[in-house]
Subunit: 96 residues, 10 copies
Amino acid sequence: MLFHVRMDVNIPYDLPPAEATEILAREKAYSQELQRSGKWRHIWRIAGEYANYSVFDVKDNAELHEILSGLPLFKFMHIEVSPLLRHPSSIRDDDT
Amino acid sequence: MLFHVRMDVNIPYDLPPAEATEILAREKAYSQELQRSGKWRHIWRIAGEYANYSVFDVKDNAELHEILSGLPLFKFMHIEVSPLLRHPSSIRDDDT
Amino acid sequence: MLFHVRMDVNIPYDLPPAEATEILAREKAYSQELQRSGKWRHIWRIAGEYANYSVFDVKDNAELHEILSGLPLFKFMHIEVSPLLRHPSSIRDDDT
Amino acid sequence: MLFHVRMDVNIPYDLPPAEATEILAREKAYSQELQRSGKWRHIWRIAGEYANYSVFDVKDNAELHEILSGLPLFKFMHIEVSPLLRHPSSIRDDDT
Amino acid sequence: MLFHVRMDVNIPYDLPPAEATEILAREKAYSQELQRSGKWRHIWRIAGEYANYSVFDVKDNAELHEILSGLPLFKFMHIEVSPLLRHPSSIRDDDT
Amino acid sequence: MLFHVRMDVNIPYDLPPAEATEILAREKAYSQELQRSGKWRHIWRIAGEYANYSVFDVKDNAELHEILSGLPLFKFMHIEVSPLLRHPSSIRDDDT
Amino acid sequence: MLFHVRMDVNIPYDLPPAEATEILAREKAYSQELQRSGKWRHIWRIAGEYANYSVFDVKDNAELHEILSGLPLFKFMHIEVSPLLRHPSSIRDDDT
Amino acid sequence: MLFHVRMDVNIPYDLPPAEATEILAREKAYSQELQRSGKWRHIWRIAGEYANYSVFDVKDNAELHEILSGLPLFKFMHIEVSPLLRHPSSIRDDDT
Amino acid sequence: MLFHVRMDVNIPYDLPPAEATEILAREKAYSQELQRSGKWRHIWRIAGEYANYSVFDVKDNAELHEILSGLPLFKFMHIEVSPLLRHPSSIRDDDT
Amino acid sequence: MLFHVRMDVNIPYDLPPAEATEILAREKAYSQELQRSGKWRHIWRIAGEYANYSVFDVKDNAELHEILSGLPLFKFMHIEVSPLLRHPSSIRDDDT
């Protein structure tokens, strides 16, 4: 089941650099593991912004929340979720 | 080059049904032809709304505008465009 | 799987009364059938507004959209959807 | 009498962890006691957000405010309240 | 129990004048009857706007909605409701 | 002359408690003195919010500003003012 | 007593031209009479918009509302009112 | 050439009082010198807010920006600028 | 003197096509004449929207308003104006 | 390919002055180098605001993001990007 997610990141400017670096490294590893598992299907950077549009493929709302609330940057993010489905004009039979 | 597009459709309730039907048929054909060409890479319905999130792969801004302004429903749509690029945490080498 | 839905109804003031009456009767029957099936778990009127807060229990996003886009009043509604899940502080084991 | 409440939590990132832990434990106990009493009828997590939708069943506005302003997290919350009532299309005789 | 209500009136400019006059006369009579009963405790015009701030004293949310949805101008109004209670700094023992 | 005022209070969470207590005590005394004088005609708590709706009866805009800017909590408040007048549908001859 | 007023005009595009011309002529005469009386102290056009910023000098809120609601274009306007007073940094003793 | 300016002041509550006092004294002197020169034609306090509406008479956009960015409180202000001109209904020949 | 202008066009869908065609032809001629004169220095289409960003070079606010309010599409436009000036980091001595 | 960019700068008031000075010097050098290369085609100050409107000419979205995210002030900026193209009413054959 697909969800469209926009994440805006806002790291406090006075966060100690070492702490920021450590969080960002964990964030990247966490994201890539979920991408490899197929649950984080797409992630795109939005030009000019510290933000991304992502598409998740999860089994239900609970799994989506578990993933998002587990993001190392979660406390510094503003997140908006929209449930998606196959569009009736899509040329494909599945939801890709 | 990728663009994220949100389209909200608002057809006037008093548009003659025959006219609406005809526009919607043209819209679907137009969309599917662009999907087949690879320029309209993704289209998803947003649950509960007469709206979609789409991803376009075009050669430049002008081609994007030509496609969007040519939508049969263009005059009944509110459209928001965001330029995208590969995210640095993506596990893929290209922008998919 | 639960979804929180807010529906705001805005019927054009010049819609012929007979047409409005007919749509509203169909809307009520449609809603009650879904309530009896358990898919439309709650519906509450918001005091002072032509609007409701509802909770749906469906198997996925596609079923939610099928239900909402099938509302006889759909074209006169503004709808906002939020995916829900069991709250960690809930005293119940399920999502009620 | 029912009220729909949305609570958004925003804990300052530099709050000492021990203080945060203590507040969250009190919040959970406070919420569960009110749930057991029947006054906090529903609480659902909103997927992807540090927020919840709740339904309260209280005897009047004053009791609602006493409950909400007594939340251990109250000073870190943004709260929106909407008075609810039985919907005329509900299949139930009461306001559940 | 008190509720603060803001009502913004927006009568379509092409409503036949006779119809508008008739609705406004019914609106005034309806409002004055509720004022005399004590349920519509205050009504003030907001300077420069076709709008009012009102305070209602009703027994519950259902009665408030019955009153507001029964306004002859209801279909031409945008209404916002806020539940009120006695302020802890008030010098009076009741909610006046 | 009447003014409708909404005050939202936002005290910084790290304000020393003794300082907060002292300001709140002065705020209450200040408010009650103005209520007794008749200039602060009504004050109601808004359920679930650290906010109030008030009605002031002052001789002019300058007096209103002198009162509001003199609030001990003024620097922690967001304030919105609307000038009021007797509503033409009021059953009373004055502006109460 | 001074009030700052912003007026945005939005005349329906299908209003018969003769009717529009007649209303605009009355609007101009009405405005100029109030300017000559000193009650409409300033009126400025906002560049690029069908809108104006004005300053009124009236004896109270009721007079302000009587003037604004009497504008021939009132039903086609969106109006925002802010009560003004002499600024403490003004070099003048009065409110000009 | 006239410009309408709204300035909202938001001084951090933990700015050292001596620093705040010093800035405010410079702000007042700066404003009064510009008022005397005729460039800051009007300044009015907005009742209930730490804000003002002002009208500037400058030779061009560059001079306006030089004045506004030179305000001692500039870094604590939110400023909105609207270019003004003589209104066609004005009874005066100039832009006063 | 430069002004940044955003124009959003919204032509009523039921405007007779001949009338729309005629207005659009006049709009184009009007715009091109001003471009040739140097007063309308830049005009760019915003991808996906019936809107443009433009830069005008005029002698004062009055001339800007005369140009904008004379646009054949003016009554179908929403316009936002921002006064511009040379940026201190510009590598050019003028405002280009 | 052109992009319209609005940048709003918000430097924390308690950033050490030496640090601010150093960042601003780097920002200016960075901007001027990009202007000389032709990629940062225009930059204009918005009167009364710590903000600019800019036009970039880059080969794709990725290059735009590389430039913007490399701004020394990036972490203190709010940025909005709009893809541009030649307007059909332009008198020029290219996108200038």
